[in-house]
């Protein structure tokens, strides 16, 4: 059976506060799926529901089509990094992995293998209490990889990692996906996922905002825009606005033009004698796309409240 993560119409409230509200999505293998939303959007809650740690009030959260609690040797089916701090500070890194391995009938040597894989082999016999956040993050990733599971879930894995670590984890995530695994990575920073994720599940206020491929999302946001860098910004804006374009200021010497093709902009500016240094197609960032999407979510939520 193909590995998968699936959330079906899940609702969860904590003491009357809605954390997840009718959420449904499916994560497919072979891709890195980014799970994004602002803080408090319900990302961690959804992950806890998938791991059977919390029980949904309604709906189902399934791993490979089954509830997590019914899995045999679950660490060989799903690996998860939820909280890098969830290690007893007095325990040696290797012992932390050993008890997990033994609970699932995984060979002890896997502990050494994954420690090696995450670059903690040298501190395998050091107590976790002395680890930096980055080291604990790596230990948590080692724990997720322990059972060589086809499904992996990482909650904010780049927290506390140095730039080298961030590059390392991006490569790791891509490698895991290319091996045909299900990889779900949550983040509240869209930019982090820009070069990593293939698909995105975007949630806001516990609801699904978008479930889409990254290129499609970018295309939907990047309308035909052209960036112009010019020392004569106000002149350029006048000329282009008169020609019917929408012009916005982007930086000290830059403007973004919408509604005119690049060639026409060049000839208009040339005809008006306005010099420009650079003219290029504007590429929307994932960050902008995300802002666009979540703004919609907020508006939707507000409208919803008004309707009541």
């Amino acid at each position: 059976m193909e590995p998968s993560l699936e959330v079906r119409d899940v609702r969860k409230t904590y003491r009357g506060v809605v954390a997840v509200d009718g959420l449904s999505f499916t994560v497919r293998p072979g891709e890195v799926t980014g799970f994004v939303g602002p803080n408090g959007a319900g990302k961690s809650t959804t992950m806890r529901l998938l791991l059977g740690l919390d029980a949904p009030d309604h709906g189902e959260a399934l791993v490979d089509g089954s509830r997590y609690g019914t899995l045999d040797r679950p660490l060989t089916r799903v690996g998860a990094l939820l909280d890098a701090d969830a290690v007893h500070p007095s325990r040696r890194a290797r012992d932390h992995l050993l008890w997990m391995a033994r609970s699932n009938g995984i060979a002890d040597r896997r502990a050494d293998e994954v420690l090696d894989q995450v670059g903690l082999a040298a501190v395998a016999h050091k107590r976790a209490g002395g680890f930096s956040l980055g080291m604990r993050q790596r230990l948590g990733i080692a724990a997720a990889l322990l059972g060589d599971p086809p499904v992996l879930m990482f909650d904010e894995p780049t927290n506390g990692l140095d730039p080298d670590g961030i590059v390392w984890i991006r490569l790791l995530l891509r490698a895991l996906a290319s091996q045909g695994r299900v990889v779900l990575v949550s983040s509240h920073l869209m930019g982090e996922l820009q070069d990593t994720a293939d698909r995105l599940v975007v949630i806001g206020r516990g609801r699904l905002v978008a479930e889409t491929a990254v290129p499609d999302l970018l295309a939907s946001v990047s309308r035909d825009q052209v960036e112009v860098v010019t020392p004569q910004r106000s002149e350029a804006m006048t000329v282009l606005a008169n020609a019917g374009a929408t012009v916005t200021v982007q930086a000290a010497d830059g403007i973004v033009v919408e509604g005119l093709p690049g060639s026409e902009i060049a000839s208009l500016l040339g005809a008006a004698g306005v010099t420009f240094v650079e003219l290029r197609r504007h590429r929307a960032s994932l960050e902008e796309a995300y802002m666009e999407l979540t703004r919609g979510a907020v508006e939707f939520a507000t409208a919803d409240e008004d309707a009541r």
Binding site: R48, L51, G52, L53, D54, A55, Y68, G69, T70, L71, P74, L75, V78, A80, L82, D83, D85, A86, V87, H88, S90, R91, R92, D95, H96, L98, W99, M100, R102, S103, N104, G105, A143
Partner: protein, 499 residues
């Protein structure tokens, strides 16, 4: 099974827990030794007992109408009356405290005794009609077999054939029923036999406010015997002897008791009237060498409670319980594995600790006076000692499991540790202060009752320690119930709550 292995790896890999577990064992032994060295007793220098045939402390005082017989013999009497006189009647009961109920060994009684001479502590066998415990057959201060519960006048018979002595009773002297056959340790071929009258002193106890005191009022009784026959008929005369304990003399010398007055035996036209005072039976002090050698358990228990609670609450520090439940989603299995691992580790360590305490502390206690004959040397092979050691280890284990379960329930170390310790210590303090037998219900309902497992001797109300009020079986049952209830509650909560 794999969950058990995982929990064992968890327990083993936190050095502080292992250190505390071993520390609990060391603390138990150390404090047991210290406690043993702390007190002295001089009971062997001022004994209230004599030494029985097997070297144990016994009481042996009664009125004895006897003649010398040799070889096989059968003696029959008809006890026509048994009347307590003396202290109890005269003084109207003890001055204060609670009267200890009369047991078959501390009753008023009349019957037949066959004895090696008239020295107190010598081997004997008796068949007796008691005031409140029916008909009994007793031998050598240890054996006691009940006959009918009759309190009416009774025919009694004692028959010796070789080494064996058989007791009979009858309501009418015609229909006889056998009570038992006993072989006393050292009644020689030529022995004394005849009517005997016992009247154990009334014992009152006052306990509470941290101490206990015991008082005895010597008492006497008079009984009449008719149809006294000895078969084969032997010549010789009946002599009356007051078999007397040295302690009785001491009390009389101090003016604390009245000397028995009048003759032991009078006879008028076949009716023999015998007056007796004293008790025939075991006279071991209620203090317990085994218990005294294990008192460090209370200290070790505190350390064990800490480990137990932390083994549970540490899961809730930093959300480690999520990792645990991710690895083993069946939460009941996690709790069962935790309890199994912690229970096994605690039981092994506790058993080692209590055996070591016993081995170390008993010689120290003997040096400070808890020695034979008042306190026979306990051996690791005595059934009562084995029971005390094993149950004490089980008690320590159960309390540790209660701490674990409370830890899983409240998720906070300080709260879990305090709560469990209070459950042990508070009833102890209250029970030591509360008077009489009133703390018994406290012992039946709290973890402190588990300390009853320390005792190798039967329960008693004559000691300051409240746990001596209940037996070890009741004590261990209480703590096992607590452990089962706490674990059950934790299991129910684990399944119900989000992690």
């Amino acid at each position: 099974m794999s969950a058990v292995l995982a929990e064992w790896t968890k327990l083993r890999s936190v050095p502080r827990w292992i250190a505390t577990l071993v520390g609990a064992a060391v603390l138990t032994v150390g404090l047991s030794a210290l406690g043993a060295a702390g007190g002295t007793t001089d009971i062997n220098d001022h004994p209230n007992f004599v030494t029985g045939p097997d070297g144990d402390p016994v009481a042996d005082g009664f009125g004895f109408a006897h003649r010398t017989v040799t070889g096989d013999v059968s003696v029959t009497v008809h006890v026509t009356s048994l009347t307590p006189t003396g202290a109890r009647a005269d003084r109207g009961g003890p001055d204060r405290g609670t009267v200890v109920p009369r047991t078959p060994w501390t009753d008023v009684a009349a019957g037949i005794t066959l004895k090696d001479g008239t020295e107190p502590g010598s081997s004997y066998v008796s068949v007796l009609l008691t005031g409140s415990n029916g008909v009994r057959m007793q031998s050598d201060f240890t054996q006691d077999v009940a006959g009918t519960p009759s309190a009416d006048d009774r025919w009694l018979r004692l028959t010796r054939t070789g080494d064996e002595v058989t007791g009979f009773e009858s309501a009418d002297g015609v229909e006889w029923q056998q009570i038992a056959t006993m072989t006393p340790a050292a009644v020689p071929d030529t022995a004394e036999v005849g009517p005997a009258v016992l009247s154990a002193p009334a014992v009152y106890v006052a306990r509470g406010m941290g101490g206990a005191s015991m008082g005895e009022h010597p008492e006497s009784a008079v009984a009449t015997f008719q149809d006294v026959t000895v078969t084969p008929a032997s010549d010789g005369t009946w002599r009356g002897t007051a078999v007397t304990m040295p302690i009785t003399d001491d009390l009389i010398a101090m003016g604390a008791a009245e000397a028995p007055s009048g003759p032991v035996l009078t006879e008028r036209s076949g009716t023999y009237t015998v007056t007796g005072s004293g008790k025939v039976g075991p006279q071991a002090p209620d203090d317990d060498v085994v218990e005294a050698a294990l008192l460090g358990v209370v200290a070790g228990l505190m350390a064990l409670i800490c480990v137990g609670a932390l083994f549970g609450t540490s899961e809730y520090r930093r959300g480690m319980i999520r990792t645990t439940f991710t690895a083993v989603p069946r939460r009941g299995q996690v709790l069962a594995a935790k309890a199994t691992v912690l229970g096994a580790a605690t039981f092994v360590l506790s058993l080692v600790a209590v055996v070591a305490s016993f081995v170390v502390a008993v010689p120290i206690l003997q040096d400070s006076g808890m020695a034979p004959p008042a306190f026979p040397t306990p051996s690791l092979t005595d059934a009562a000692v084995v029971r005390a050691l094993v149950l004490t280890a089980l008690f320590m284990t159960s309390v540790t499991l209660v701490a674990l379960a409370v830890g899983m329930l409240v998720r906070r170390s300080a709260v879990a540790i305090t709560f469990t310790i209070v459950l042990v210590v508070l009833p102890l303090v209250a029970g030591t202060v509360l008077p009489g037998t009133s703390p018994r219900w406290l012992m039946y309902t709290t973890l402190a009752g588990g300390l009853a497992t320390l005792r190798a001797k039967p329960p008693t109300a004559t000691l300051a320690e409240p746990w001596a009020l209940i037996g070890p079986g009741a004590g261990i049952t209480v703590v096992l119930c607590y452990a089962a209830a706490a674990l059950g509650l934790a299991w129910w909560q684990l399944r119900r709550r989000d992690a």
